[in-house]
Symmetry: C2
Subunit: 435 residues, 2 copies
């Protein structure tokens, strides 16, 4: 075994530069903890002549093939993101007997099981702590710390941009558009914020967590997904009056032998451990059968926090070289040829839930009776109701008791058809604190 772990890096943006800086600045600590030196020996970048905020990077190359196939590279660090060419390069690296570290959530959400299988077949490791929750050790906690326990449910804030936006709307009374603008000014949100705001980013991460927590295979595209586009300052204010906070939550849970994975705006009681997660922080509440509730909170994005996860993975690979392949295999044997079948994924219709509704109504006698009748007809019972405003601005705020989603959706359809209901302005799921 050589006394250096030679890393070949694909891509060198924010995270790559932070990894290079960390390996340089903390070189002696890393060497002591890894048992060997960890060095970046090759980096493939689109434009090798571009100036980078990273420690001296040796051997900038233009062709990623010169990294994944290089004989002097032990481990490939994939930081280019997206599905292709990342997927092909990762497969090539593994075919060449190299373990892979990646921060690529999209790739893992869509092709995780294929890549895990390939790693097992090739006897290499595939580590990806940085793909979910930035600097938070959520993958390690589920795969290693809770290896003897059974995860029952994960409730998480996995997108810092939307959490920042909702925090501004909650604490500053901003509109969605203004809060998005602030997030863009701070560099939290992209020029096109739809991947964050629409819940796509969180859904990809939720798919990865569900896949590893429940030993199954949930593609990101199969996650029920609803963004925060329709959350209004009004909804947030009413939530506050009821003792709730609105968060974009990712929930993955076991329901019998099946699993449910969803990303949607949700109201949680202000006493819920996730309610206090503000600004751009991420947090993951894992409920285990034996461990009980376990919450991890930290920076979900940013070069340095994400690099911390990447370097943690590199050091783990360096330590475990004598048993290469064992990390991935142990965690993902379910996906191997002899592994268990994937668990069925429940449709939202098959769940139960409590809901908040905001209705625009005609302000005249009998309106509440008509609405209450519609709820009764669908056997959805009302926990709380009040009227806001008079005349043209009359609104009805309702919270339901727990009801099957399917009948609740039918009830909403019926409400939309009522003459006295001008509009169903908002429908937001209420997640009770069960921790």
């Amino acid at each position: 075994m050589s006394d250096v772990l030679r890393v070949g890096m694909l891509g060198c943006g924010n995270v790559g530069a932070a990894v290079a800086r960390m390996l340089h600045d903390h070189a002696s600590d890393v060497e002591r903890r890894a048992g060997v030196r960890v060095e970046i020996v090759r980096v493939a970048v689109r434009d090798p002549s571009k100036k980078r905020n990273a420690s001296p990077l040796p051997h900038l190359v233009k062709e990623p093939d010169d990294v994944v196939a290089a004989a002097d590279v032990d481990v490939v660090l994939e930081l280019i993101g997206g599905i292709e060419p990342a997927r092909t390069l990762v497969l090539q690296a593994m075919a060449a007997g190299k373990s892979v570290v990646t921060a690529n959530k999209a790739l893992l959400a869509e092709h995780g099981p294929e890549l895990f299988d390939e790693a097992v077949r090739r006897g290499v490791d595939l580590l990806y702590e940085a793909a979910v929750g930035g600097g938070i050790p959520v993958i390690r906690t589920i795969r290693e710390h809770l290896a003897g326990d059974r995860v029952v449910r994960i409730t998480a804030i996995l997108n810092g941009t939307t959490n920042y936006i909702l925090t501004r709307m909650t604490e500053g009374g901003s509109t969605l558009a203004d809060a998005v603008g602030e997030a863009q000014d701070l560099g939290y949100a992209e020029a096109d914020p739809s991947a964050d705001v629409g819940g796509h980013d969180a859904a990809a991460k939720a798919a990865i967590l569900a896949t590893i927590a429940f030993d199954t295979s949930v593609p990101g595209s199969a996650v029920f997904r609803e963004g925060i586009e329709r959350v209004s300052p009004e909804d947030i204010a009413f939530a506050g009056r009821l003792g709730y906070v609105v968060k974009l939550l990712a929930v993955a849970e076991r329901v019998g032998d099946a699993v449910s994975v969803r990303v949607q705006p949700a109201m949680i009681p202000y006493t819920h451990p996730l309610a206090a997660v503000r600004e751009s922080f991420n947090a993951v509440l894992i409920e285990g059968e034996r461990v009980g509730p376990l919450m991890l909170l930290g920076r979900g994005a940013g070069g340095d926090p994400t690099a911390t996860s990447v370097v943690g993975d590199l050091i783990e690979l360096a330590r475990g070289r004598a048993s290469a392949g064992s990390i991935t295999m142990a965690g993902h044997a379910a996906h191997g040829p002899a592994g268990a079948a994937a668990r069925p994924l429940l449709h939202m219709d098959d769940l139960e839930g409590e809901y908040y509704l905001l209705l625009e109504v005609a302000d005249r006698p009998g309106v509440l009776a008509a609405i209450a009748h519609a709820f009764a007809h669908h056997q959805v019972s009302i926990k709380q109701v009040w009227q806001e405003g008079r005349g043209e601005d009359a609104q009805l705020v309702l919270i339901t008791h727990r009801a099957p989603e399917r009948t609740f959706r039918e009830c909403v359809r019926t409400l939309r058809g009522l003459q006295s209901v001008k509009d169903v302005r908002s429908v937001i799921r209420v997640e009770a604190a069960e921790a």
Copy 2:
């Protein structure tokens, strides 16, 4: 390599029984993740005839030597607690080439470096996730996840009993004695609660965290320690009015090349991430140079949560058998023969701090002037002050600005000597949120 990891267990109380249950109930998950079956093959207990709430335990023996020296034992799980005979047995197990998993905080706090050195010398591993924070993966997070980062500060609630007591005093207005009684009724506190209430338990855990986070050697007995015995409902109420919550905090921080480790009641702003940690929960806020703030929250005690950590360690050992010794070595090379020297431990006097004071004073003109003069004389500046009550019951509540501890202590001595100060009732450190 055999296809089973054979565990010899020393002691079988709450945690041991929970470990046995977990290995039995989750046997197939554990085997898939560990790569081998994990089986308890021998258990040493004081009274083998006693009935236990554990899955069928094979081979109950009375002599611990029959476990640590047994040829059919691969790993020794030490759950007897205390220093001796635990220390000798752990050393014997390692001398016999066996890796050790332990939940013994007292042993690690006093003899950790000796045991780590011995593990490195013998080429075995010593894992102890359960020793700090029960079911919370704090050891794994510091040693593995943050292996590439540098921990700057750890601020933690490490004792569930005192956190429960302070929660009752805060939310129910209980006196300390009543809250201790409630904790005893619930089984959180021992008949003699002094190890918890006096901060000894938290100090041992803080010593372990400081030792591994800062690659040094801090014995539990060297930790500055103050219990919650003198915290009154009055202090908690005044803290609340100022926007603070009182917690028994363990703080370990780098100060230049030295470290400071202390356990004491402290006021933290109600917006601090640890302020919302209620009841018997534990939480650890780690601030890393690159990762930023990272908080872990969960059950700090109890059979099942603690067993989760133990089984996680056993599975890690099973996975890493090809490279036995590498886990401990990588993390603790600093303690090896060629390792770095221990960092100096700062005395409290060498720190700075903000403080809350509650003084019983004579209610007459000039009192405040005399007190303000004393503060000015010691160059401690006052941030806030107000008088509570009149006549015989007059009290002065003060919060200072940041000042060197040494001069602050001298200032308190001066205050005690003033004629107008009948008593310095409380002195509580204020920890500002720097996260």
